[in-house]
C-alpha cells in the first residue's frame, strides 16, 4: 500500500530523539494500534520477528510487557509503566529493556486532521551518552544485531559512568 508519510527524526536537545509521522487513519485507530495487544503484535516487531508476549494495561500506573523473538530464537524483553494516558490523544510512559540499564521516557501525542493522524513521539534518555548509543547501535542491520551491540555498548564503562551520573 501507499506510504502516507515519511518518518522524520530529529534531536532537538542532547537527551532527546523526536519521531514525527503521519498516518492515513483517524487517531482512535492509531491510538488503538499502540495500546491493543492484538494490533501491536501485527506491527511492533521488526520484520520477521514474533511477539510471544504482548500485554498492555492502559491505565496510569499500569504498563506493558513485550517479548520479541527473532528467527534465530533470540528474545528481547521490554517493559513500561504509564505515567499519563488520555485516549486517543496522548500518553507518557517510562520504558526499559530487560537486559540493558537505563530507562527512557516516551511522550506520544496524536493529532488528527482531516482523517489523518500526526504522531509525535519524544524519547527522553537519562543522558546524552545513552541517547547516542541508541542512535549509534546501527539499527539497519536487523534488530538482533543492533540489540546485541546496544547491550555491549551500554555495558561499557563509559556508558555506565554516564548513566550513573544522570
Amino acid at each position: 500500500m501507499k506510504n502516507t508519510g515519511t518518518l522524520k527524526v530529529t534531536t532537538p536537545t542532547d537527551r532527546e530523539i523526536v519521531l514525527t509521522r503521519v498516518f492515513d487513519a483517524p487517531r482512535h485507530l492509531v491510538f488503538d494500534a499502540f495500546t491493543k495487544p492484538e494490533l501491536l503484535k501485527r506491527w511492533f516487531g521488526p520484520r520477521g520477528w514474533s511477539m510471544p508476549i504482548c500485554e498492555v494495561d492502559p491505565r496510569v500506573g499500569g504498563g506493558f510487557r513485550f517479548v520479541l523473538r527473532g528467527h534465530d530464537g533470540k528474545a528481547v524483553g521490554m517493559r513500561g509503566v504509564y505515567r499519563e494516558i488520555t485516549p486517543p490523544e496522548r500518553s507518557v510512559h517510562m520504558e526499559s529493556f530487560d537486559d540493558y540499564p537505563g530507562e527512557s521516557q516516551v511522550t506520544a501525542v496524536f493529532v488528527e486532521q482531516e482523517g489523518k493522524t500526526t504522531l509525535t513521539a519524544t524519547v527522553l534518555y537519562p543522558s546524552k551518552e545513552v541517547r547516542d548509543i541508541v542512535l549509534k547501535s546501527g539499527m539497519e542491520h536487523g534488530a538482533a544485531e543492533s540489540y546485541d551491540k546496544l547491550a555491549e555498548l551500554l555495558a561499557s564503562p563509559e556508558a555506565q559512568g554516564s548513566s550513573q551520573a544522570a
Binding site: L29, V30, F44, M139
Partner: protein, 94 residues
Amino acid sequence: MELAEPFAMSQPAISKHLKVLERAGLISRGRDAQRRPRRLEAKPLAEATEWLESYRQFWEARFQQLDAVLHDLKTQNLRNQINIKKKNTRRSKR
C-alpha cells in the same frame, strides 16, 4: 576575521561560535603565522547523520507495517458500517 566578515556578528561572538564547533570536533584550527585557519571536520557530522538515518529506517520499517494494519482497520470499519446500514434498511422495510 575572514570568517566573521559575511556575518552581522562581532568578532568575539564569532570566536565563541568557533570554539563551540571546535569543542564538538566539527572544525579544527591550524596555524599560519598570524592566521588561524579553520578546517571543517566532515567525518563526525557524517557519522551523526548516518546514525540518525539508520535509526529512522528502523522505525520507518515498523511504521510501514503499521500503515498496513491501519488500512485493514479502516476497511473493517467501513464494512461494519455498511452491514449496520443494511440491517437498518431491512428492519425499516419490515
